[in-house]
């Protein structure tokens, strides 16, 4: 009887309300953290991939000791247009979150001994030095596993730990990884007929604006680390992990390699249309552009119906999307579609799609219509504000700051941002006594020597 009553109550509450009550980021601080038993040493250097990797673990509650040389990591001054906020570069600021920032000079033997002491307390070590450097310093995987056999030793580099290019002197940067992935070459505007690069310097292979290759490399490594932790729970063994940033980003690619393997065709730039999907494009409108999507025939038909071309374009007779996917057909249909979308504003097209889902001939099927927003518009969008992604973080050192957060929403162990960043060596006085039992005099001595 009691159980039946509970069940009917659960039924009354809508799914969305039920979830929100349990995973709204605003209540995250009241819940436990998934990784609060894990300690991570992040030695990454000049690498957003490394910083993001340890941030992702820190968001889930891992205790991350971010270890920098005494002068600080170069990444701190990789910031748009050279802009600093309270002395900090903006990229580093957003991915310093929840970490304890300590310093240690690994170029000195004393510093390396201290690192070894920390390693005995650690589950994971993240590093981004060129392959071989850690080994030369006596703190490579094979040396550290003697101290701590359960250690998960995670290396993120441009070319990986083995293979002919692994000994390259070239450092790892996001734009290089994007170039090596094969994705940049296929992205960008198509050269208008009869024009040249001099006239149209924008009709070239175009990379993504964000540090996406570095982000993907960091995220893959974080996933690998958690899989290795699972493996360790079963076997008790640690291991070494190897991610190369260009490979990580390339792995997100889809059909391109197989298409080339099978046909010898090299995917060329196709602007805002899509080689592998129809209906799937950015379309110009009265006041900007919208994304149009409909990967099933019915969704494409619904779009045609929505703009009043059902009869004229003969939509009722279509039986498959396949003919529309050919290159020439895509170009032909794009110009017809754009002629229609230019008659409306972004908002009008979005509303038309929502209404079509209710009343259209093919309802509830409706095309995907989404306005192409500037990041300023995105940041003001009430939907995202409501969902808590831009809740300002009240940081004791950097003040009120907006950094995207809460991308995972979870009912039991939600991620959270406790603080955004800390200056170089800010947590030395807390972490060294906590882990190594140092007294104030020892801290002072090592600081004077420049080891920390």
């Amino acid at each position: 009887m009691k159980k039946a009553a509970r069940t009917s109550k659960a039924k009354q509450q809508s799914w969305s309300d039920w979830v929100r009550e349990r995973d709204d980021p605003r209540i995250a601080h009241t819940k436990p953290e998934a990784l609060d038993d894990i300690t991570v040493l992040d030695l990454s250097s000049k690498s957003f991939a490394g910083c993001l990797c340890s941030s992702l673990l820190a968001e889930f509650g891992a205790e991350v000791l971010r270890i920098e040389p005494p002068e600080g990591d170069f990444l701190r001054i990789c910031t748009p247009y050279g802009m600093l906020h309270k002395g900090e570069g903006l990229n580093y600021l957003t991915e310093g979150r929840n970490k304890f920032h300590i310093t240690l000079d690994l170029s000195r033997p004393e510093g390396r001994e201290i690192l070894k002491d920390l390693v005995t307390h650690a589950d994971v070590l993240i590093e981004t030095y060129r392959p071989g450097i850690m080994d030369e310093l006596g703190i490579g995987y094979e040396q550290l596993k003697e101290i701590n056999p359960g250690l998960i030793f995670a290396s993120i580099t441009g070319y990986g730990q083995f293979g002919p290019m692994s000994q390259s002197r070239m450092p790892d940067y996001d734009n290089i990884a994007q170039a090596r992935s094969g994705i940049q070459s296929g992205t960008g505007e198509v050269m208008p007929e009869g024009k040249s690069y001099n006239e149209c310097p924008w009709a070239v292979p175009t990379k993504a604006g964000s540090w996406i290759a570095w982000s993907v490399a960091g995220a893959f490594m974080a996933v690998g680390i958690l899989a290795a932790l699972y493996w360790r729970e079963i076997t008790g063994e640690g291991q070494a992990l190897d991610v190369a940033s260009g490979e990580a980003y390339a792995r997100l690619d889809d059909y391109a390699a197989l298409w080339y393997y099978d046909t010898g065709i090299i995917g060329e730039r196709f602007g805002n249309l899509d080689v592998c999907a129809f209906l799937y494009c950015f379309a110009p409108t009265k006041d900007g552009a919208v994304f149009l999507g409909g990967l099933r025939l019915e969704m494409w038909q619904a779009f045609v119906d929505m703009v009043g071309k059902w009869d004229e374009w003969g939509a009722a007779s279509w039986t498959s999307l396949a003919p529309f996917m050919q290159r020439e057909e895509q170009l032909k249909w794009a110009s017809l579609i754009f002629e229609e979308t230019r008659k409306y504003t972004n908002e009008e097209l979005v509303r038309m799609s929502i209404e079509y889902a209710k009343k259209g001939r093919l309802a509830p099927i409706t095309p995907v219509v989404a306005p192409v927003c500037s990041p300023k518009e995105a940041m003001k969008d009430a939907n995202w504000l409501d969902r808590g992604i831009f809740i300002p973080i009240q940081d004791p050192l950097y003040g009120e700051l907006i950094a995207a957060q809460a991308q995972h929403k979870m009912t039991e162990t939600p991620i959270r941002t406790k603080w955004v960043c800390r200056p170089v060596g800010y947590d030395n006085e807390y972490i060294y006594p906590k882990y190594l039992g140092w007294r104030p005099s020892k801290l002072k001595e090592l600081k004077q020597k420049g080891v920390i």
Binding site: A10, P171, A179, A227, I266, C373, A403
Partner: protein
Amino acid sequence: MAKETWKNYRENKSFKPPPLKGIRVLEVCTILLGPAGPAFLGAMGAEVIKCEIPPRGDTVRQMVPFGHFFRDQAPAAVHINTNKYWLGLDLHKPEAQKIFCELAAKSDIVEDNMRPGTMERWNVGYRQLKEINPGIIYISKNGFGQWGQYAEENRPSNDGAAQALSGYAWMSSFPGRPPLKSRLYVCDTYGALMGELAVLAALHYRGKTGKGQFIELSQTENIMRTMSWIWPYQQITGKVARPTGNRDVSICPADTFRCTDDTFVAIAAPAPEEFKGLCTAMGKLELAEDPRFKDHLTRLEGKNATAILKIIAAWVRTKKPEEVEQLAEHYGFAASHVYSSKDVVEDAHFRERGFMTNIDDPVLGPYDEYEFPVMMSKSPPKVKWSVRAVGFDNEYIMKHFLDKSEGEIKELYQCGALGKWADVQGCRPPSHWDGKAGIIKARD
């Protein structure tokens, strides 16, 4: 580098167990955002059962570059369906829902990317499954999440919508040009990857407490997270962040340049020794001491960055990409020609590492594929097989996972709960299939 650790990694992979052996995943996903996540777990050794509505199955089966099928399969479907078992299960049917619940009782993870509430209407939503299996970890991925205005309006979404709404596309074009969609379904596959991060964190938590949970991921929110500086920049300056083409505004110099043969090379040289190396390579060592360029923060400022990039562009115009790469190697800065898909497939380094590899799939035959990009010294992930026809593994799953008899299986087919492929490209086996190859008889 750890020479011993990585010795013969590629050759020895097959003899080592993958890290997620023993984890079972149920997938009710379509297109890319959904299926790519379980594929990552599959590559790491999890047992993934992909449920599709027969006879046509997943929409991705019709995603074909300019209409080209590969041995009757959609190339897009091949790449994101690693190591899965294929179940044709019509979840509209009560008998199929019951089967799903039986499978869920024996699984660790359930993944869907339906619109909010769909699974619950099919009686297999999280609230229903957790009654059967309280330890279940359930992730739902889509464009807008499970609640909020857009979710309530029941808007459909996909990768392009997320690229558009987040500002990601807007930031990825040249100044003064229209926003540009990436060729990559980046919000889908990166969303899928980040989803698995939460799943594995939840698995760790379950190991400690026995508790499962529900996870939601909006691919639009997820891609916003990678747009790091843009948000505090807009907050602090009150300005909108602007696109800058191939120039990286946080690293200088970092850009893509046109070579003498009209191909392209990316260069990065921000750290002091790297920048000095580049200046030396250009025969302009004095630039390294130029007050406009000497330190990184000054060099990043608008006018200075434009000036140094112009100098580099003029120099690269006289070089071939391989010359620039050789100089980069010699002087210790970073450079790479812009790889085409051919370059990626044929790259000797990728091959040697086993990142680009030839898969010998028992049904599809041999094909080139990217390996899972986290190399793990003791428990290497490995791509073994890919897409199968709709319902290809029905019998295996019914018999070995659920102990169903021949008679019970027959009934499930009769009522339409189970089904197999439609005889159309993308859904059926390759034409060369002999009716036997790839059918699983026993588990390893």
